[in-house]
């Protein structure tokens, strides 16, 4: 009697909050619990194709309800002379809203901007999210790291606005806008709430850059008012660096402008073992999200079955969580971590001498054993 009423009330309030939440913001992850969902896959260059194949194989072994649509991204000149990504790629992303991307070659003197920049501009990928969790079995001097860096990805120091004022004097402009700051702060708090994180820390240098970082900080404070269930703190960039290197366990979610985010996210990646094991996700406006591995294309080992697919795999796991497929995410993540912890089948960069395909097969086996 009482229990039933309580359960009924509980489920009603859950439905109500989900409806309200979905109406409130577009950053709430959508649930894909029924049917097969399409994901745009961009294999990339160098080791990209082989690690993408590895991920597809593991997903197949885990019977994840995902259908891959492979697209290539190379810069082409559109009408009007502006560089853009191929229309097939854009159309696929706009339809599926979710993308998984391998490493892309950086063009030098190719005449067009980097592909990452193009993707960012095309889909307005304003938030770069990097969860950094210590991997048991891959030892670094830092244990128990569990933090997330959320970096504003569109403006700040990377606006690319520079001029030579007079010969020998160069000025580079850092742009901070109210809108972008508010947007990233809102995303950070939503992320904290949806992923059961207890605190958000804004990283800044408002003592020096009074107006620009001051604006960023003010917007963070304003947004914090609406999220009283999440603790909000502010810390200078140098203090964060100092403390991060001594005791990274004190940090939870960090939100910051572009440059600081670039430096800190790489610093945190270094704490857990480098770019070869770090996942990353880019959240855009209109519900688009592209998850990617942030390491390079490693042309020297491309095609030799030596690559480590962990980074791309963990990014794919992040993608599953974003889509609400938590059980599948947990299954694959556990299989991956168990394989690394076991140390029997490891790729060269993790300290073993197995091939990429062997590593992949081992993870597939574990995934299938779990069913």
């Amino acid at each position: 009697g009482d229990t039933q009423i309580f359960l009924l009330w509980k489920s009603l309030s859950q439905i109500l909050s989900r409806v309200l939440g979905a109406v409130k913001s577009q950053t709430q992850p959508r649930t894909f619990s029924r049917g097969v969902h399409t994901v745009t896959l961009i294999p990339g260059d160098g080791i990209g194709p082989e690690i993408s194949t590895a991920v597809m194989k593991i997903f197949e072994a885990a019977k994840v309800p995902i259908q891959w649509e492979e697209r290539n991204v190379t810069a082409i000149k559109g009408p009007g002379g502006k560089w853009m990504i191929p229309p097939e790629a854009k159309e696929s992303m706009d339809r599926s809203k979710i993308g998984l991307k391998g490493p892309l070659k950086t063009p030098i003197a190719a005449g067009h901007p980097s592909m990452n920049l193009l993707l960012r501009k095309t889909f307005d990928l304003y938030a770069n999210v990097r969860p950094c969790v210590s991997i048991e079995g891959y030892k670094t001097p830092y244990t128990d790291v569990d933090l997330v860096t959320i970096r504003e990805n569109t403006e700040g120091e990377y606006s690319g606005i520079e001029h030579v004022i007079v010969d020998g004097v160069v000025q580079s402009i850092k742009l901070i806008t109210e809108q972008a700051s508010r947007r990233i702060a809102e995303y950070a708090f939503e992320y904290a709430r949806n992923n059961q994180r207890s605190s958000v820390t804004a990283v800044h240098k408002a003592n020096i850059m009074r107006m620009s970082d001051g604006l960023f900080l003010r917007k963070c404070r304003e947004v914090a008012e609406n999220y009283k269930d999440v603790k909000f703190t502010e810390m200078y960039l140098d203090t964060v660096c100092l403390n991060m290197v001594q005791d990274p366990t004190q940090f939870d979610v960090l939100v910051m402008p572009n440059l600081y985010g670039d430096i800190l996210s790489d610093l945190c990646a270094g704490l857990i073992g480098g770019l070869g094991v770090t996942p990353s996700g880019n959240i855009g406006a209109n519900g688009v999200a592209i998850f990617e591995s942030v390491h390079g294309t490693a042309p020297d080992i491309a095609g030799k079955d030596l690559a480590n697919p962990t980074a791309l795999l963990l990014s794919a796991v992040m993608m599953l969580r974003h889509m609400g497929l938590h059980a599948d995410a947990k299954k694959i993540e556990t299989a991956c971590y168990d394989t690394i912890r076991d140390k029997k089948v490891l790729t060269k960069d993790l300290g073993g001498n197995s091939k990429c395909s062997e590593f992949t097969t081992e993870i597939c086996r574990r995934v299938q054993d779990m069913d």
């Binding site: 020096i208 001051g214 140098d238 001594q246 770019l275």
Partner: protein, 362 residues
């Protein structure tokens, strides 16, 4: 105890000396600054260092410029200063600039910030045997404090890089590397994104490097640098970089060797020098509780003594500090112990007394 005669350094005017004693400006600052500098004074008195301090107080809460101008004049007069960090109240309007910065580049032109991160024996850290010198451009870059709101809701902050300052700091770095017998200088930058600004900095470093063929030169992007520092810090020798990256990298390195309480810093210009702790923290939360780590400030005062060519005193105090660091019972809370500041300073004084020269009564 004989004091050395001051050798004329060929490009700097000698610091002021009256009656054989130097006079140094002392700026207590906020937070833990005053108490640590009191300990320094006590220690110098005890060790009979021929040095007098001229105390200049700067109240960081009032907005008038007089305090700062007095301090600048005092430093100009004496040539050398020892300072604690001044708190910046960033709720005040942007015209009220950070006092530390005003001191540094307005009128004093302290263009090089030098920090040596050395692992101290007796301090537990994740990485051992680190010895990196970081040279940071101290006057321009992102710290130009040139900001404006062009349209409501859109703020622009200018980062200025000039050829002159970049050449100057690169030259300083290579000179220092040569003087200290170092093998390699690494320039830290983000020229793949900030092509003109950091590109200019990098180009200047390369130009200067070509004049020092005995020293190897390479460059690294700042985000990769921080990643390498936490995983393989031993690959770095001397590093030179613009202002903001210097802030980040120096804090990372200070964390690697054990924290803000251990590393001294120095700001050098052509004519003046100001010494302080490397990571410039006010330590508000631990002020007045006798738990601050005096090591950084004591080592900074040793750097100052070296600058004044009082090398014997500098070595004596430095060795006493290292000997004290070896006793983990005396470690202060920031490095994992439970000792107090005064106990540490007393131990340093005992070590000095036992090592020989004339001292006043304990």
């Amino acid at each position: 105890f004989t004091s050395k005669t001051l050798m004329q350094s060929n490009n700097k005017p000698p610091p002021a000396r009256y009656g054989g004693r130097h006079t140094v400006t002392l700026i207590p600052g906020d937070g833990i600054g005053p108490e640590l500098l009191n300990h320094v004074r006590e220690l110098f008195r005890f060790s009979c260092v021929p040095l007098d301090f001229e105390v200049v107080n700067i109240n960081s809460s009032i907005t008038s410029e007089d305090d700062i101008n007095n301090a600048i004049t005092a430093i100009r007069r004496n040539g050398v200063a020892l300072k604690g960090n001044l708190e910046t109240n960033h709720t005040l309007p942007p015209s009220h600039k950070s006092r530390n910065n005003v001191l540094r580049y307005t009128g004093l032109d302290l263009y090089a910030n030098v920090m040596r991160c050395q692992s101290l024996p007796g301090v537990q850290t994740r990485h051992k045997n680190i010895d990196i010198i970081i040279i940071r451009e101290n006057t321009e870059g992102e710290y130009s404090s040139l900001e404006h709101e062009s349209v409501p809701g859109v703020v622009e902050s200018l980062k200025i890089i000039t050829r002159n300052n970049s050449l100057r700091i690169a030259d300083y770095a290579f000179q220092l590397a040569r003087e200290k017998g170092r093998r390699r200088v690494t320039a830290v930058h983000k020229a793949n994104i900030m092509k003109l600004a950091d590109g200019l900095f990098l180009q200047c470093c390369r130009e200067v490097a070509s004049g020092y063929p005995d020293i190897a030169f390479d460059s690294m992007i700042v985000d990769n640098t921080t990643m390498q520092l936490v995983s393989k810090p031993h690959q770095f020798d001397v590093m030179v970089m613009p202002n903001l990256y210097g802030n980040v990298v120096s804090n990372v390195c200070a964390g690697l060797v054990g924290g803000p309480g251990l590393v001294p810093g120095a700001n050098y210009g052509h004519n003046y020098a100001v010494f302080e702790t490397a990571t410039r923290n006010t330590g508000k939360s631990i002020a007045g509780r006798n738990i601050a780590n005096p090591t950084a400030m004591l080592l900074a005062s040793c750097l100052m003594l070296d600058h004044l060519k009082l090398h014997d005193y500098a070595s004596m105090i430095r060795n006493a500090v290292f000997a004290t660091m070896n006793e983990s019972l005396l470690h202060t809370p920031d490095i994992g112990g439970q000792g107090t500041t005064s106990e540490m300073v007393q131990s340093v004084m005992r070590n000095i007394k036992s090592s020989g020269p004339l001292t006043t009564e304990l």
